[in-house]
């Protein structure tokens, strides 16, 4: 026997890139049809999607945790439910289809869907982000191709299929919602650079976001978070501690809106630590802090092994015990970017620093956000409006949430910012949007604008549908009907019928 070479004897072309092109064509077909759909049908389709997604919230939460190893099932269920039926309830009554008539401005706004949306979803909030982006895209009559993080590709593929099947059953065209089943960097690059993509919506690490913006296509990418939490001497410390522990422990901090570093007024710091402990936080001793620092921050940056792990698991990995702890609080002396523990930590570890007064608190908050988190979120627990305003003016965050947990507060579930799995970090955070991603981000508006002079009256657009022009009139010509013998049965009857119809039409036109 000759020696077997493991290399294939014949090579074949890369199927993935070829399929990408065809998926985009298919999406174009679907969106051409879907963009003409009226509001009622769109609503029915989105409702069907939301219901199907809601029904699978638990199953996918469990599978997401199993596939990625990140987060907590009970919290992922909440996010999956919030990003399915929750999003539907929030936006279903907003109409992104029907023309908006403004008599005062003499304008009519027509929603113009982006077209084909290419959506990158993260490993940390895989299914919730798939739900969220897909429902928003369909609500605004776009087609969407979802490219999940490879670490969550299986559960995301099934989630997309669930949405797609439900949408189609409710009347959406096939191909409207598609999934990149085997995402690779070259393939994602191929999609992002394609002229056939109208909008990229990128959630993920900074590299992904930068690549989206570099692609040359319109893109919405969002930067990473690193939220400082200022706790002053006017707030209710017990409630504050509960908010913080609940939020930091929520899904083990995989939401980018999770708290990074507490900045406590010196005068309340010890009492706050007591309350945190009461709320099931483990307050780390100095050697435990040292061990945590070593565990979480390697030469390559944050230790991804620890993302979304339980507090007790992280403690054990660091060499100490913290049974039943929801979060680990790590007191630090230095609140500057060179202290790794004040950086973004997608795990239930919270840095804790003391500030002498409000002004030192502002400086510390800015220090926390100096290296990362610009444009993202910040928290203040206070009842002093002047401090709240000053804080909001001073920190480079675009959402400053007050007396609420940041994970669900800044992401809009427990505030009125609009529930979102994609947090716009604005110009400061390298993004084109500064708000929580919402349906409006998926459309442009075409505006009919009349002469503003009173001498030109505004038209009456009420009651007019998209295409209310009468169908084109058949052109009637007296053309000799051919005398060729018909090759099939019924040809004579058809010719006769046609003649009759033409005569009728002529009669109508004359009348």
């Amino acid at each position: 026997m000759p020696e077997q070479n493991s290399a294939p004897r014949m090579l074949t072309p890369d199927v993935a890139a070829a399929r990408a092109g065809q998926m985009l064509n298919t999406a174009r077909w679907a969106v051409d049809r879907f963009s003409k759909t009226d509001a009622q049908i769109v609503k029915a389709i989105v409702k069907a999607m939301a219901d199907a997604a809601f029904a699978k919230a638990g199953e996918y939460a469990e599978r997401a945790v199993r596939e990625t190893g990140y987060g907590r099932v009970e919290h992922k269920i909440i996010k999956n439910q919030g990003c399915s039926r929750g999003i539907y309830d929030k936006y279903a009554d907003l109409d992104f289809v029907t023309p908006r008539i403004d008599h005062a401005k003499k304008t009519v706004e027509l929603a113009r869907p982006a077209g084909v949306v290419f959506a990158l979803t993260p490993v940390t909030n895989p299914v919730a982000t798939v739900y969220f982006k897909t429902i928003l895209a369909i609500l605004t009559r776009n087609a969407i191709i979802v490219s999940p993080h490879p670490g969550a590709k299986k559960v995301c593929a099934d989630a997309v299929r669930t949405l797609s099947v439900a949408a189609q059953a409710a009347g959406a065209p096939p191909g409207l919602i598609q999934i990149v089943e085997e995402p690779t960097i070259p393939l994602i690059d191929h999609f992002m650079k394609s002229d056939e993509v109208d909008l990229i919506v990128a959630t993920g690490g900074p590299a992904v976001v930068k690549a989206a913006y570099r692609s040359g296509n319109p893109a919405i990418g969002v930067g990473s978070g690193n939220a400082p939490v200022l706790v002053d001497d006017t707030c209710d410390l017990r409630k504050t501690a509960q908010y913080i522990v609940g939020s930091k422990g929520f899904d083990n901090s995989v939401l980018c809106t999770n708290e990074s570093t507490i900045l406590a007024f010196e005068s309340v710091a010890d009492r706050l630590l007591q309350q945190l402990k009461q709320a099931k936080a483990h307050i780390c001793k100095p050697d435990e802090v040292k061990a945590l620092r070593k565990l979480l921050f390697t030469e390559k940056g944050f230790n991804v092994e620890m993302i979304g792990k339980d507090a007790s698991v992280i403690a054990e990995a660091a060499g100490f015990r913290a049974q039943n702890a929801e979060i680990l609080v790590a007191p630090v002396d230095l609140i500057q970017p060179e202290e790794p523990l004040v950086r973004e930590k997608l795990c239930p570890v919270l840095a804790f620093g003391r500030v002498a007064d409000f002004h030192q608190g502002l400086a510390a908050a800015r220090s926390v956000m100096r290296k990362s988190g610009k444009g993202h979120s910040a928290v203040i627990h206070s009842t002093d409006e002047r401090r709240i305003l000053a804080y909001a003016n001073a920190v480079p965050a675009l959402r400053i949430v007050v007396n609420v947990g940041c994970s669900l507060g800044a992401s809009g579930f427990e505030t009125n910012l609009g529930p979102s799995m994609t947090i716009g970090t604005g110009f400061a955070g390298g993004s084109s949007v500064g708000e929580n991603l919402k349906p409006d981000n998926f459309i442009n508006l075409a505006r009919i604008a009349y002469n503003s002079s009173a001498s030109e009256p505004f038209g009456v657009f009420e009651g007019l549908e998209r295409d209310t022009l009468p169908p084109p009139t058949p052109s009637i010509h007296t053309f000799p009907v051919s005398t060729v013998s018909a090759p099939e049965d019924g040809q004579d009857v058809r010719a006769e019928l046609r003649k009759l119809i033409q005569e009728e039409l002529k009669a109508i036109l004359v009348a």
Partner: protein, 425 residues
């Protein structure tokens, strides 16, 4: 100067003169006479370019040969990579490429047992007829009037006299034709007991795609079963997703004993054809495997390409695309037809197979010309010149389909003018 390194021509006139002198004067004169001055040069996707640079959108696609468009990059790369290892192969021996292709092909065709390969459609039809004769030990073959199955000895004898008589290749004693959509006439022939096979294009292309009813096709199959006649489905133009199903017979829910695939299965880049058949029809291979020999048939390069063609066609996004193209033209052409019903009489459609009826005995010849002048190449049906063959490829995208419709629309006034003039003469 058209310089191709290995050969060159001064200009189009010189090329025409030489083509006329050395190749086929009849064809050269015919097209020039029709005002179609096309010498195809560059080709890419669904575009053809005349040697002088003019672009045309290809809706002829040679009966599905260019189903994926011209020189589809994935197919071209597949063939190039295959050439690093394979050539046409040696037909005598078992081959990895041929075996793999046969296995995959049969997965698309439940109920079938063997693939017998050829190089072109006519060869596959020969194989089908020979196999049916072997299975039944009968000789006579029934086909439909205006049917078409190729130009080789047995295949041409099934077809229209136009193509057989000129070569004295008609064989009336062995080949009988009955009218399409006439089960009575078919039964009258089959009941004589000497018929080996009934062969039918699932939708007769050269006849202008008159649509069969499900009842008719099922009736044909039932009659064949009743008289133990092999039913041969010619799927050269109706196979490979063109009806919206992999094979046309599947679209109509019938089960042939043999079906024939060619044209599109080659990807338009390496000739190959298949006669796919049941164990009973293929049984001659057990008696004498070398009873039919073909050096170029089932070439290994063709098999690799064919395998890729099947894989591509079964991708979910391609299946969706076929239906989208079909729906787009169903709606768009119906709208144009309603506004031009004086000249544009009707639409025959199954999937992306369309026949457009024009109101003149040679209406489709005029339509072909009017479309040509508007940048579209679509050919009339040879055996029914009222009907234009309108054959979009399965990978057409939405913008190009819209362009086709817009160009079609633009051609209507010109066509009306021409038809009016033709009718006056």
């Amino acid at each position: 100067m058209f310089d191709y390194s290995a050969f060159s021509f001064e200009d189009k006139e010189q090329l025409y003169a030489k083509a006329r002198a050395f190749w086929n004067p009849g064809k050269v004169d015919f097209w020039r006479g029709e005002g179609i001055d096309l010498v195809i040069d560059k080709r890419q996707g669904y575009y053809l370019y005349d040697i002088e640079g003019r672009r045309l959108i290809d809706l002829h696609i040679n009966g599905g040969t260019f189903n994926f468009g011209h020189r589809h990059p994935e197919l071209v790369e597949t063939l190039k990579l295959a050439l690093d290892h394979f050539d046409i192969g040696n037909h005598w021996f078992p081959s990895a490429a041929r075996t793999a292709f046969a296995e995959e092909f049969l997965k698309t065709a439940p109920g079938m047992d063997f693939c017998v390969f050829g190089a072109g459609g006519a060869e596959a039809v020969e194989l089908a007829i020979k196999s049916a004769r072997y299975a039944t030990k009968r000789r006579r073959i029934v086909s439909i009037i205006k049917g078409y199955h190729g130009h080789s000895g047995l295949s041409v004898a099934t077809g229209d006299a136009r193509f057989s008589k000129i070569f004295l290749a008609d064989r009336p004693e062995e080949f009988t034709q009955v009218p399409f959509r006439d089960l009575g006439a078919l039964e009258a022939e089959l009941k004589k007991g000497d018929v080996a096979a009934f062969i039918l294009e699932t939708i007769p292309a050269t006849y202008g795609f008159p649509m069969p009813s499900v009842e008719y096709l099922r009736g044909c199959v039932d009659l064949c079963r009743k008289y133990d006649v092999m039913y041969i489905a010619d799927e050269v133009q109706t196979g490979l997703m063109r009806t919206g199903h992999m094979w046309g017979w599947q679209a109509y829910g019938i089960q042939p004993d043999i079906f024939v695939s060619a044209k599109g299965i080659s990807g338009g880049i390496y000739p190959i054809s298949v006669a796919c058949m049941t164990e009973r029809c293929a049984a001659w291979q057990r008696e004498d495997g070398a009873a039919h020999i073909t050096t170029a048939g089932g070439s290994e390069l063709g098999c690799v390409v064919g395998l890729k063609v099947l894989e591509m066609l079964q991708r979910p996004e391609v299946v969706v695309n076929v239906h989208a193209v079909a729906q787009f033209f169903a709606e768009g052409l119906a709208e144009i037809q309603s506004r031009n019903s004086d000249i544009f009489g009707g639409i025959r459609q199954k999937g992306v197979i369309l026949g457009l009826e024009f109101e003149h005995p040679e209406g489709a010849v005029y339509a072909s010309r009017a479309l040509y002048e508007n940048g579209i190449w679509a050919i009339f049906s040879s055996l029914d010149k009222r009907v234009l063959q309108f054959k979009p490829g399965v990978l057409l995208d939405a913008p190009l389909c819209q362009e086709i419709l817009d160009r079609f629309n633009a051609a209507m006034p010109l066509l009306r003018q021409r038809l009016a003039k033709a009718s006056r003469n």
